[in-house]
Symmetry: none
Subunit: 190 residues, 2 copies
DNA sequence: CCGAACACGTGAAAC
DNA sequence: TGTTTCACGTGTTCG
């Protein structure tokens, strides 16, 4: 331990604390023998850096309740938490899509269907009537929280869904236009 | 005030707060006469609060390069930027998929909807996602007295319809099994 | 020994 | 008025 600064304590702290050694002295040469600390400039620089960082952080956060130092950090904390939550929600939504698509790859065994659909597996009946006419019957249960959205407004319905087809369906992978045509054929008779 | 202290602040000052001003006092035997500022305790409390906030922020940020005050804020800044970027990317991905759902949610004007859907023919959008995955959007209006019957009971839906396909759909007329498979693929994601 | 980082007490200014 | 927030200069510790 160095004892060199003991006398600094005596003369600087005691009388310095009540005397004028404040910021007026910033960098102007005061006539009095102000023993400026060696780390004075360093400390000033450090403070400035810290202040700048805080300001930058403040500019980054959207909702700032108060410009004070503590509240800036608090707002930053809540902002980060909010962002984290948002990211989680979005990844959840994407995960739902992925799992929905992935599930379609699996060949549906009955137990999986039961597990997925509860007591009611989806049922589809397609009966050939005559020529190219087909009779279609669909029974399904809407899953809770599924990505598919079916909304109805005064008789109009909007259905959005993602589907993955078997590789060799029906004879080759239908392109968008073919699927579009096919679904239009069904809807036209709704 | 409780003196629960984080190890950040090494303030060993307890309830003393009278004249035992830590290190100054033990080497500098001034017999008291330290004019304690009125806001001394307040300032201590403020510092502690600020320190706690910084610590909390530090605990929230994942990658901390250094435990120093400035770097904590810097890391928080980069972390926020990263989170923002992630959110943007995820929303972009989702927007690509469910852009149809988004605009549907936004338009709440029912008159516009009914006017638009009432005059518009049924609309089908099929967008290729990846591989064999397809994103399907259907907008249609149920015709009055049409043959198709859609009943809903406790979340279960029964749809019956007859459809006739174009002669050359997609490459040849799909048989009942193929149609059944295809519709199951869609319904499973409902 | 030097530089970086920090807590501290204090005066002043802001609310 | 008083309470709160801030910047400042300082001593001290650590690498």
């Amino acid at each position: 331990m160095d004892r060199v600064k003991t006398e600094f304590n005596d003369l600087c702290i005691t009388e310095g604390s009540k005397m004028d050694k404040r910021k007026n002295v910033d960098q102007n040469e005061d006539e009095g023998r102000k023993f400026i600390s060696k780390n004075l400039e360093a400390e000033r620089k450090r403070r400035k850096k810290l202040s700048d960082r805080q300001l930058e952080l403040c500019s980054l956060v959207l909702i700032i309740t108060n410009m004070t130092k503590a509240t800036i950090i608090t707002d930053a904390i809540t902002y980060i938490e909010e962002l984290k939550k948002t990211v989680e929600e979005l990844t959840d939504q994407l995960r739902q899509i992925k799992t929905t698509c992935a599930d379609e790859e699996k060949t549906n065994s009955e137990e999986e269907d039961i597990k997925k659909w509860g007591t009611m597996p989806p049922e589809v009946q397609v009966n050939h009537i005559t020529g190219t006419k087909q009779w279609i019957k669909i029974v399904f249960q809407k899953k809770r929280g599924s990505l598919t959205n079916v909304t109805t407004s005064r008789g109009a319905s909007l259905v959005t869904s993602s589907a993955e087809f078997a590789e060799n369906f029906p004879c080759e992978l239908p392109d968008a236009d073919q699927i579009k045509k096919f679904l239009l054929e069904i809807i036209k008779s709704f």
